[in-house]
C-alpha cells in the first residue's frame, strides 16, 4: 500500500517535471530539468 502511495507521488512529480520541460525558455534549464527527470523516471520504473 505504502509503495503505491510512493509511486503515485513519484509519478505526479515526474509529470510535473515533464510539463516543466516543455515550458522552459532557457535550454540550460531544460537540460537541468531533463537530468532531474532522469532520476525520477529511474525511481518510477526500477522500484517494483
Amino acid at each position: 500500500m505504502i509503495r503505491i502511495f510512493y509511486l503515485l507521488i513519484v509519478l505526479y512529480l515526474s509529470l510535473h517535471l515533464f510539463w516543466h520541460l516543455f515550458r522552459q525558455k532557457n535550454p540550460w534549464s531544460q537540460a537541468g530539468t531533463a537530468l532531474v527527470l532522469t532520476l525520477f523516471l529511474l525511481r518510477l520504473f526500477l522500484i517494483k
Partner: protein
C-alpha cells in the same frame, strides 16, 4: 555567448536524452541482479536454495543458493556463511574458493556464499563504490559484485524509525535491513528477517553442529583480525587461536556479548544450540579513512591514508604501505576455518568435519586467489 532559444523541439531532444540516460543507467543497475557465476568442484553433492528450507523466500530476492558437500564418512555438519554483508568481499570470495575446490570426506559441509542475496543487488549510496571488483586469474579477471551491508531498499522499504529485532533488541531503523541483526528471524517479518529465519531453518533441519559467519571490518574498528565466539564455543575458539598463532597469523579472541542480540554468533548459539563463530579480517575498502574506492583497493588493499593512520597509531591492525590484499584476508579466513575444524576434531571427535582439496592458506597468499579460482566464463 549567443543565446539559443529553447523550443518544443529542444525539449523533445532533451526528453530523448533523458530516455537514453535512463536506459543506460537502468541497465547497469539491473546487471547487479545477475549473480556472478560459481563453478563448483566435482565434490559438490547437491545444490539447494534457502527457499527449500523456508518456502516463503521463493521468488524473492532473499532466496539464495546453498552448496552441499557430503562426506563419505560419518561426522558433524558445518555451515559456512559468506556475504552476510555484501560489502565485505573476503566472505564471498572465501566461500567461492571453498565451493570451487573442496570435496567432503567426513561429515557434511553447507556453504551459502551470498547469505544476503538482495544486498548484492545494489551498493551503498554516496560511497562511490565500484559495482564489481576483479580478481586476476591466469586466464583473465573474475568479476565479483561489491554489494551493500544492507538489503536493497527496492526489496524492503521503508525502514522503521527504531527497529526492535526478533530478539527484542532496540536498534536504529536501518538495521532492519542488516541480516546480522535480524537473527533468529521472523517467519512473517520483513524480508531480511525471513532470510534470517531461513538460515535458522537450514541450521535446524540439517542439524548443523558448527556455524561460521565470514565477515570483514574496517581497520579502525576494534573487533578486527578476530574470532568472535559464543560462550559455548570458547574452548574451540581458544584452540583455534593457538593453532593460528603457531601458523603465524596474529588473531584475537572476542567473546560474543551476552546482551547484544540479533547477531549470528549470539542467536545461532542461543536458539539453535550450535557452536557459533564469526570471523573478521581487515578491509580498507569499507573503512572511513580510505582514499578513492576502487576494485584495486579491494583486491590489492593498498591505501596510503590507512598506512598513515597506522603510523599515527589510530588503527587496531598494523597497516603498511604494502596493504592487506584480498588474498591475505581470504587466507586468514581459510586458516581460521582449518584451525576451527582441527579444534572441533580434538574436542568432539564424533562431530569432526574433514574436507579434501581445501586451498592451503600459505599457498593462497603466495600464489594468489587466481590459482585456486575457476577460469572466468567467456562472455557471450
Amino acid at each position: 555567448m549567443n543565446r539559443i532559444k529553447a523550443s518544443e523541439l529542444s525539449a523533445a531532444l532533451f526528453l530523448i536524452l533523458t530516455g537514453i540516460l535512463c536506459f543506460i543507467s537502468g541497465r547497469s543497475f539491473q546487471t547487479m541482479h545477475r549473480p556472478e557465476p560459481v563453478f563448483p568442484s566435482a565434490g559438490l553433492t547437491a545444490t539447494h536454495r534457502l527457499s527449500d528450507y523456508f518456502p516463503p523466500l521463493k521468488n524473492t530476492h532473499g532466496d539464495t543458493e546453498v552448496y552441499i558437500f557430503r562426506g563419505t564418512e560419518e561426522g558433524g555438519n558445518l555451515l559456512v556463511l559468506g556475504g552476510t554483508h555484501p560489502n565485505e568481499p573476503a566472505g564471498l570470495v572465501s566461500s567461492v574458493l571453498l565451493i570451487e575446490n573442496i570435496r567432503g570426506k567426513r561429515g557434511n559441509v553447507f556453504i551459502v556464499p551470498r547469505a544476503n542475496a538482495s544486498g548484492f543487488t545494489h551498493s551503498d549510496p554516496q560511497e562511490g563504490n565500484p559495482q564489481r571488483f576483479a580478481v586476476p586469474t591466469p586466464s583473465g579477471p573474475r568479476l565479483f559484485r561489491l554489494g551493500s551491508r544492507l538489503t536493497n531498499p527496492v526489496d524492503q522499504w521503508p525502514d522503521p524509525a527504531i527497529y526492535i529485532n526478533p530478539a527484542r533488541q532496540k536498534l536504529s531503523g536501518n538495521e532492519v535491513r542488516n541480516l546480522n541483526r535480524c537473527y533468529p528471524g521472523r517467519a512473517d517479518g520483513f524480508l531480511t528477517e525471513k532470510m534470517a529465519f531461513g538460515i535458522m531453518e537450514l541450521i535446524r533441519r540439517e542439524r548443523i553442529d558448527i556455524g561460521i559467519d565470514l565477515h570483514e571490518s574496517a581497520p579502525e574498528y576494534p573487533v578486527i583480525n578476530a574470532i568472535v565466539f559464543h560462550e559455548n564455543s570458547s574452548e574451540l575458539a581458544a584452540l583455534a587461536l593457538l593453532e593460528l598463532q603457531a601458523e603465524g597469523f596474529d588473531i584475537r579472541l572476542e567473546a560474543s556479548p551476552v546482551n547484544l542480540h540479533g547477531l549470528s554468533h549470539r542467536e545461532w548459539g542461543d536458539h539453535a544450540g550450535i557452536k557459533a563463530i564469526l570471523l573478521e579480517t581487515p578491509n580498507a575498502s569499507h573503512g572511513r579513512l580510505k582514499g578513492k574506492p576502487s576494485s584495486s583497493l579491494i583486491v590489492d588493499g593498498k591505501d596510503k591514508f590507512y598506512a598513515k593512520a597506522s603510523r599515527l597509531g589510530w588503527l587496531f591492525v598494523p597497516y603498511g604501505e604494502e596493504g592487506i590484499p584480498l588474498a591475505l584476508r581470504v587466507a586468514r579466513h581459510l586458516a581460521a576455518l582449518k584451525a576451527l575444524l582441527g579444534g572441533l576434531a580434538e574436542l568432539e571427535p564424533e562431530k569432526a568435519v574433514e574436507v579434501e582439496g581445501m586451498p592451503p592458506p600459505a599457498e593462497v597468499q603466495k600464489k594468489g586467489l587466481g590459482a585456486f579460482l575457476h577460469p572466468p566464463q567467456k562472455s557471450g
